[in-house]
Amino acid sequence: MSKRKKNGEHSEGGSRGAKIFRYFIMLLVMIVSVYPILWVFISSFKKNPGGLSLPDEWIFDGYVTIFTKLDIQTYFINSFIITIISTVISVAIVAMAAYVVARMKFFGRALVTLMFSTTLFIPSVSISFPIYRLLGDLGLKDTRAGVIFIYSGLGIAVTYFILQSYFSTIPKEMEEAAKIDGCGYTGTFVRIILPIAKPGLATAGIMAFLNNWNEFYFASILLKSPEKMTIPALLGQFTSAYSKNLNGMFSAIIVAVVPTIVIFCLLSETFVKSLTAGAVKG
């Protein structure tokens, strides 16, 4: 037991029945999550995609056309630039507001939460005309900067909810100690709260990153030049271009999806490290 305690990476034990149950659930998760994509992956090598079986004959045509013809890395770089900058901006801005609301009583506090809540439910159809006009007026139509600006504001509600609930779990003694040490409000936030809240910030960041990474509606309205487009737009293009060629469409799905999965798996390791770092301090 004592050996396990020190090493947090291993099973925490439990009865045999509990173990079987856990593995059963894990298996279920694997099937539900991975099978659909695996099915597409296998089908993408079939001449006529579909069915349960393995391909009779392995066909690579779809992949060959995609890699030889499309400038995929441009799309990836665009997605990266747009998503990372907008995520950093929105997490930074929202973290400040969420901290204030979570830790301080002031007039209009509930109003701020209500304000963020409304953003969750505004239909994107209704928001698109004003945004389009705004970017037109700013001269940011069909620019990456315009999309970054909009993305910074799009997911603020989710980021806000995550950070607000995270900040409110941080023990109050931390701040009080800082105040006694002569830290100002800003100093407390920057030197005490932010380091403790790293796991929360990382989580909110990942959520915002994924949302922006996959956003399609505004990307398709605001970006018109092929050299500025993001990955989801690419997929939209694939479906119309390959609707007659299933082999191509299935390959396109895989090409659009696999790099995202790889990026996530790599990121998730850093993410876990920040989690354990937070757990020690919290």
Binding site: K5, E9, H10, S11, G14, K19, M26, V29, V32, S33, V34, P36, I37, W39, V40, S43, N48, G50, G51, L52, V94, A97, M104, F106, F116, T119, F121, I122, P123, S126, I127, F129, P130, I131, L134, G153, V158, F161, I162, Q164, S165, S168, T169, G184, P199, T203, L210, N214, F216, I231, P232, L235, G236, T239, A256, I261, F264, S268, L275, G278
Partner: protein, 303 residues
Amino acid sequence: MKKKKSRLNKRTGFILYFLMPAILLYLIIYAYPLINIFFTSFCEWNSKNFVAPRFLGWDHVFDNYRKIFTVDANFQRALINSIKWVILTMLIQIPWSVLVALVLSKRERGWRMTRNAFVIPNIISTAAIGLIFLNLYSPARGIVTEICNKIVPGSNVSVLANEKWAFWGVTFSFVLFGGSSCLLLMTQIFSIDPGIYEAAKVDGASSLQIDTRITLPLLRPMIGTVSVIAANYGLLLYNEIALISGGGPDNSTYSLSFYIYKTALGSQKLNFARANTAGVIQIFLGILLVGCINRLFHTKDGE
């Protein structure tokens, strides 16, 4: 006295200073559309006067609301479906995500891989998920029909061609994918002080008891947060519908968001007034929902 006052001012300044960027962003991106949605829901605004919404007049001020609830069968269906989807996410996705989070937090061999796998359906774009399910459900090349035929030979099920099944077809394209909720919950579980567990173990608590008596109560605020996010997803369901069922068959899988899109941009009539009426209802419903969930999970947070 004097010192306290200056500290108070400093405090107010700090609050304003920290809230300002977020509020500014909100005002620029959301404030105008919000006001616009609300006012135009009392207007006539469609393809005939596309650039100039016209107020309906005080005698007819609630006409859009009256019509939407009396003659518009698509809206009524959309409203009922959206509420159903909210309930289903709460009943299926949330308990499922909590269960998986608890199981994975035991760090059995392969937990990381399972966690990553669970998040995959959430990180790839819904456009891809939509296409995948469209193909899975296709009677000609998908597997659902093939599997059903193996169980009941000759049943030839076509999920998306049947009104009742199509609803479940759409539901199962998202409801089991609780990966990001699970991730949030795991963050919270791992930040629980290990000392609490040690104490419980010393007292001889079983792992089930630890989960139900210690972890779950501590998880409550985070369950509230993921519930808000998931319920919001259920209420606003759009991509899955647009890509998989197209609202059909016979408009049986309309959601509020899909209705709004269809009524405004998806129709030759461009009936933005009616769409925004539904938008107002959607916003109110959403705020009500957040309020209810917050109360339910008691995410009251003091200073």
